[in-house]
C-alpha cells in the first residue's frame, strides 16, 4: 500500500510549502534521514509533522496579535542494542542532519541499555478509515478571514452578557502526520484543530469568567458564541464577591476544572512508564485496586469523535483504541506501548515508543444536570468554574496538592436557587480523596483542553460533585 493512499496530499494541503513541492521535499528529507539512521540503528522510527497553525490573541476586547506557524518537524526514535534516543529535529539543513545523526551514533555507543524498551509493534495493522473523517474538517483550512469574525462573535457574546472587557485566544489549524519505521510500517493522517478560550472581566477586575470551546470540526462541539456567553455570565455573577470562609465544603466543578483535579490520575499516573518507574501517586497500586467512587469510570480513547488527540495510530503505528482505565472505581489497566505491555497482552495504542502518552481522557457521565447537582448536595457547597496553578507537595501517594479557583466561584445557597460569589479560597486535597469523594456526575461530556493545565491532553468531562474538600484562605 502506498503510504499516501489514505488521503491525497492535495486534498489536505497544509500550506507549509507549495503543494506541488510537498511530495518531493518530504520524500527527499525522509529518505535522507532514513538512509543515515538505518546505518546506525537496529530499530528506528521517523515521524514527520507538518503544521500550519494560527492563533489570534485578544485582550481589552481588541486583537493584540495574529500569528501563523509553519513547521516541518521530524521526531526520531533511534535504537541500537536497546540503547535508545528520542530527538526532535526541525533544523532541516543537511549538515545539521548529518551532525545530529553522527552525534546520536556516539550517544548510542556510549549509552546504557534502556530496560523499558524491548521492541516496536510488528504489525501489520488495519486502520479504521472512519477516524480520519472525525478529525479533519476542510472548513477549518479555509477559515482565513472568518477567524477574526469568529473572535468578534465570541467577544460580542461576552459583552452582551455584561462583560466590561474580554481577553482570550483562538487557535486553529491543521497538521499532517506521516510515519515510517524500521519494521516496515507506514501511516499517514491529517487533523484539524480548534481551541477558543475566552475570559470575561467585569469593571470589578476580580469578577471574571472563563469558557472554552474546542473540537476538530467547526460544526461539532465548537461554539464561540456559547463560550462568550458563558464567560460573560460567570463574570457578571461574580461581581461583588467577598472573601470566603475557610473550612470543609462539597465542590461542584465545571468540566474544565477536571483537567486540574481529576484527569491527572488517568492521564499521568496511569501511564505504565510512570507507574513502573515509581514516579506518580499510584505507585504500589495495581489492577483490581479501588481508587475511585464506583460511579466513576475513565477511559483513554484515541478514537473519540472530534477529540483533539484522536488519530488512526500511535507512534508505533499501532491503531489507537478505547481503553478502560478505571472501571466503576477499580483500576482495570494502565495505558502502555508495546514494550511496556505485560506479557501476553498487546499495546493499548499509547506509544510514545519509550514513554507512553495519553490520548483523550474520557470520564463517565451520570444522571444530573448542573442544577440537580446543586440541589442534591447536602453540605455547604461551592460551585467552582475554573482553577489553576495546581501544585503538589509530592508526587508520591496520595499526591497532596493545592489548586487555586481562578474565575467565578460561588457559595451555593437554597440548593442552587441562589449563588453568592466568593473569592480567595484555595482547594487543598489529594487525588485519592477527590476520586473517592466524587459522588455524582453530570449528564453531558464537554471536551476541554486548557492552557498550561496539569493534564496536558484533551479531557472529556461532565460536571462533578466532589464531597468534603478543605478550602483555605490567606491569613494576612
Amino acid at each position: 500500500m502506498d503510504w499516501r493512499s489514505i488521503h491525497s496530499i492535495e486534498e489536505y494541503k497544509v500550506g507549509v510549502i507549495e503543494v506541488s513541492e510537498i511530495n518531493t521535499r518530504i520524500d527527499n528529507l525522509v529518505d535522507y534521514i532514513k538512509n543515515r539512521v538505518n546505518a546506525i540503528c537496529d530499530d528506528w522510527s521517523i515521524k514527520t509533522i507538518l503544521k500550519n497553525q494560527n492563533q489570534i490573541r485578544f485582550s481589552e476586547s481588541q486583537i493584540d496579535i495574529t500569528k501563523n506557524w509553519k513547521e516541518i518537524k521530524f521526531e526520531l526514535f533511534l535504537s541500537r542494542k536497546r540503547r535508545t534516543i528520542d530527538i526532535s529535529l526541525n533544523d532541516l539543513r543537511h549538515q545539521t542532519i548529518d551532525k545530529t545523526v553522527e552525534y546520536c551514533d556516539k550517544l548510542l555507543k556510549m549509552g546504557k541499555m534502556n530496560l523499558n524498551y524491548k521492541r516496536m509493534a510488528e504489525g501489520p495493522f488495519e486502520y479504521d478509515a472512519s477516524i480520519q473523517e472525525k478529525i479533519f474538517d476542510k472548513k477549518v483550512i479555509s477559515l482565513d478571514e472568518n477567524a477574526v469574525d469568529l473572535v468578534n462573535d465570541g467577544i460580542q457574546a461576552a459583552i452582551d452578557e455584561g462583560a466590561h472587557r474580554v481577553a482570550g485566544s483562538f487557535f486553529y489549524g491543521n497538521s499532517w502526520i506521516t510515519q515510517i519505521n524500521s519494521i516496515g510500517l507506514k501511516g499517514e493522517f491529517t487533523r484539524t484543530n480548534l481551541n477558543f478560550r475566552i475570559r470575561a472581566f467585569a469593571k470589578d477586575m476580580y469578577a471574571t469568567g472563563e469558557s472554552i470551546s474546542c473540537s476538530t470540526h467547526l460544526n461539532h462541539g465548537f461554539d464561540v458564541i456559547a463560550s462568550g456567553k458563558e464567560a460573560g455570565q460567570i463574570c457578571q455573577q461574580a461581581i461583588g464577591g467577598k472573601k470566603g470562609a475557610p473550612g470543609m465544603y462539597n465542590i461542584i466543578i465545571y468540566p474544565k476544572v477536571s483537567t486540574e483535579l481529576q484527569a491527572p490520575t488517568p492521564a499521568l499516573a496511569m501511564n505504565a512508564y510512570t507507574q513502573k518507574m515509581g514516579l506518580a501517586w499510584l505507585v504500589g497500586r495495581k489492577e483490581g485496586d479501588t481508587i475511585a467512587n464506583e460511579k466513576l469510570s475513565v477511559w483513554d480513547d484515541g478514537t473519540m469523535d472530534y477529540g483533539l488527540a484522536t488519530a488512526p495510530f500511535d507512534d508505533e503505528l499501532v491503531p489507537k483504541q478505547k481503553t478502560l482505565l478505571i472501571d466503576k472505581g477499580v483500576i482495570r489497566t494502565f495505558f502502555n506501548n508495546s514494550s511496556l505491555a505485560k506479557k501476553g497482552n498487546s499495546s493499548t495504542g499509547n506509544a510514545g515508543i519509550t514513554v507512553p502518552k495519553p490520548t483523550n481522557t474520557i470520564f463517565s457521565t451520570g444522571d444530573f444536570s448542573l442544577e440537580e447537582l446543586m440541589e442534591i448536595s447536602e453540605k455547604p457547597t461551592l460551585l467552582i468554574t475554573s482553577t489553576w496553578y495546581t501544585r503538589y507537595q509530592s508526587y508520591a501517594p496520595p499526591a497532596t496538592l493545592s489548586s487555586l479557583p481562578k474565575d467565578g466561584m460561588f457559595l451555593v445557597k437554597n440548593r442552587g436557587k441562589n449563588l453568592e460569589p466568593v473569592r480567595e479560597l484555595r482547594i487543598n486535597s489529594d487525588h485519592y480523596h477527590m476520586l473517592k469523594k466524587t459522588k455524582a456526575l453530570g449528564k453531558k461530556l464537554k471536551q476541554v483542553s486548557t492552557w498550561l493545565s496539569t493534564s496536558e491532553n484533551p479531557v472529556f468531562a461532565p460536571y462533578m460533585l466532589i464531597e468534603d474538600i478543605r478550602m483555605s484562605t490567606g491569613t494576612a
Binding site: K70, T96, Y273, M277, T354, A396
Partner: protein
C-alpha cells in the same frame, strides 16, 4: 554573514519594498540545540521526560520569526524552512494578518522609540556544556546516584536531569538594529522523593543553572548540597514537629525569598499583565489598580530584576526586541517603582522599554519576562535576625506553592524549616509550615533583609504565554525576616 543571516536580510528588504506600508518590521532567526540526559532511579534516559520535567528535551531547532505592525495591528509568522521563498511567504502573511488585526482595533499598536544597535554579545564561559561528552555528563549524574547506596532510614525515588542548550540568535529590524547573540546554558535539576514505609513522604526539587559554562556548574559542590537535601528529607519525615500556633516571626532563606521575589513582585510588575494583555493566559496584576509610587511594603523592601548579572541563568545583554538590557528596580524602598516593559507596553505608558522582551525560541512571540529577580541585600546577619525572635521559624526551602492570577494571594509550604526559640536557632525540624498570605501583607511584614554575603540564587523555568514559554530565570535573595505571621 552566514546563509541564514543573508536570508533574514533579504526578508527585511522584501518587507520594506513591494508597496507594503509596514510601520515596523523585525525578523529574528535562531539556531537552538538542546540536549537532556537524565538518570531516573539510576536508569539512563535520553529524550523527553514525563511529568512536566522537560518537553522537547533533546532537539535541534532553527527557523525565523517575522513580526510586522501595519494598519495599527500586529502580525507574526514563523517558519523553519529558511529560504527566500518561505521568508517572502511569511512576510506576506504577517503583513496581511497585521492589517486585518488592525481593522479590528480601536487603538493602534505602536512601539516605543529606542536607540538602534549593531552589536554582538555572548555570555562568558570556558567550557560550553554542549561540548561536554555524554560520558562526562553521565559520570556527573552518577555521582548523585551514589548517595543512595548508603543505608538510609527511608526509601527514595530520585531523578537527576541535566539540560544543556545553545541559543544563537540574529535580530534585525526596520529601524536599523543588527544584533547577534550567543548563549549556552546548563541546568541541573535533582528531584528527590523520600518515602517512609507507611507512606509518609517529602519531595524536593531544585534547579542549579548557569550561563557561565560547564565549569561553573561543576564548581558548585552540588554533591554536598544534594546529600544535605537527602538527609534533610529523612529528618523531616521522621522527626519534624508541628508548627507553633499563633503569631510568630519567620525568617525565609534565599531559596524562599527568591520564589517570593519572582511570584509576588516580578510577575505583578509585568506591564502586559497590568495592561490586561495576559488576561486569559498568565493573568493580570493587582497593581492594575495602582500607579507608580504606590506603597507596596515596608521601607526596607527592595526587589530588583537584572538580566546583566554575569553567569546568571536569565542572562542577556540585548532583549529580543533589540533593546539594551539594564537592571530594573521594581520595588524600591517599599514603593512600586518600575514595571517590566517591552516596546509595546512602553509606548502605551509613554516611556521607554527596559528590555524585558524575551522569547524562548524562534517560533515564539517576545513577551515581557523576568530575568534574575531578587530581594536586594540589607544590613543584617542571620544571627542578628534570629537573636530577637522569641518564637519563630527559619524556612530554608519550600515545596508546594501557588499564587492567584492577580498575584495577590500566595501560598508557600516550607520544607527544610527549623524552630527558633528565645533568640536561638534550634535543630528541631518543623513540618510543612504554611505561609498563606497576600502580596501587600507579605511585603508589609518584612522588617529585615540579610547582608549581601547571604545572597544566593536558584534556577527556574518561568511559565507564561500561550503557547507556553518556559523562560530561563534566576530567583534569589538574602535571608529576609517577616514579623507577626500567622501560619495557615
Amino acid at each position: 554573514m552566514n546563509e541564514i543571516e543573508e536570508i533574514v536580510e533579504f526578508g527585511l528588504n522584501y518587507a520594506q519594498s513591494n508597496g507594503k506600508q509596514c510601520e515596523y518590521v523585525e525578523i529574528r532567526s535562531e539556531v537552538n540545540d538542546i540536549d537532556t540526559v537524565a538518570l531516573i532511579n539510576g536508569k539512563l534516559h535520553i529524550g523527553n521526560l514525563p511529568l512536566e520535567l522537560t518537553a522537547d528535551a533533546f532537539a535541534r531547532k532553527s527557523g525565523f520569526n517575522v513580526r510586522i505592525i501595519a494598519n495599527g495591528g500586529m502580525g507574526m509568522a514563523s517558519n523553519n524552512q529558511v529560504t527566500k521563498n518561505s521568508i517572502m511567504n511569511s512576510i506576506d502573511q504577517a503583513y496581511r494578518i497585521a492589517k486585518r488585526s488592525g481593522d479590528q482595533r480601536k487603538n493602534p499598536i505602536k512601539m516605543s522609540d529606542e536607540p538602534t544597535y549593531e552589536v554582538s554579545w555572548q555570555s562568558s564561559y570556558k567550557i560550553n556544556p554542549m561540548d561536554v561528552t555524554l560520558e562526562e555528563k553521565i559520570d556527573f549524574l552518577q555521582e548523585f546516584v551514589e548517595i543512595f547506596k548508603q543505608n538510609r532510614p527511608i526509601e527514595y525515588i530520585h531523578i537527576f536531569v541535566l539540560m544543556s542548550e545553545q541559543r544563537d540568535t540574529f535580530f534585525i529590524n526596520s529601524e536599523g538594529s543588527r544584533i547577534r547573540g550567543q548563549i549556552p546554558r546548563v541546568a541541573f535539576t535533582p528531584v528527590i522523593i523520600g518515602i517512609k514505609s507507611g507512606g509518609k513522604n517529602e519531595q524536593s526539587m531544585q534547579t542549579y543553572a548557569t550561563s557561565s559554562g560547564w565549569d561553573q556548574l561543576v564548581s558548585w559542590n552540588l554533591r554536598e548540597k544534594v546529600e544535605k537535601t537527602v538527609n534533610n528529607l529523612a529528618e523531616i519525615i521522621v522527626n519534624a514537629k508541628a508548627p507553633p500556633e499563633g503569631k510568630i516571626d519567620l525568617i525565609l532563606g534565599p531559596n524562599v525569598a527568591g520564589i517570593i521575589a519572582h511570584e509576588n513582585c516580578g510577575h505583578p510588575h509585568e506591564a502586559d499583565r497590568i495592561l490586561g494583555r495576559e488576561g486569559a493566559q498568565a493573568g493580570e496584576s493587582y497593581l492594575r489598580e495602582y500607579e507608580i509610587g504606590y506603597k507596596i511594603g515596608n521601607e526596607c523592601v527592595n526587589v530588583f530584576d537584572d538580566p546583566t548579572i554575569p553567569g546568571s541563568y536569565g542572562y542577556y545583554l540585548y532583549d529580543d526586541e533589540g533593546v539594551k538590557a539594564r537592571k530594573r528596580e521594581l520595588i524600591k524602598d517599599g514603593i512600586f517603582n518600575e514595571m517590566l516593559l517591552n516596546r509595546e507596553s512602553a509606548a502605551q505608558f509613554n516611556t521607554h522599554s527596559n528590555a524585558a522582551a524575551r522569547a524562548v525560541a524562534y517560533d515564539r512571540e517576545p513577551l515581557i519576562r523576568m530575568a534574575n529577580t531578587y530581594f536586594a541585600p540589607g544590613d543584617f546577619s542571620l544571627e542578628e535576625m534570629i537573636e530577637d525572635i522569641k518564637l519563630g521559624i527559619l524556612m530554608n526551602s519550600f515545596t508546594e506553592w501557588n499564587i492567584d492570577d492577580k498575584r495577590l494571594q500566595s501560598k508557600y509550604v516550607g520544607q527544610e524549616a527549623y524552630l527558633i526559640k528565645d533568640g536561638k536557632l534550634t535543630d528541631t525540624f518543623i513540618l510543612k509550615p504554611t505561609l498563606e498570605i497576600s502580596s501587600p501583607g507579605l511585603f508589609g511584614s518584612i522588617d529585615a533583609q540579610g547582608k549581601s554575603s547571604t545572597l544566593d540564587w536558584q534556577g527556574a523555568f518561568c511559565g507564561k504565554s500561550e503557547p507556553g514559554q518556559g523562560c530561563r530565570v534566576w530567583t534569589g535573595g538574602p535571608f529576609i525576616r517577616l514579623r507577626n505571621i500567622r501560619l495557615g
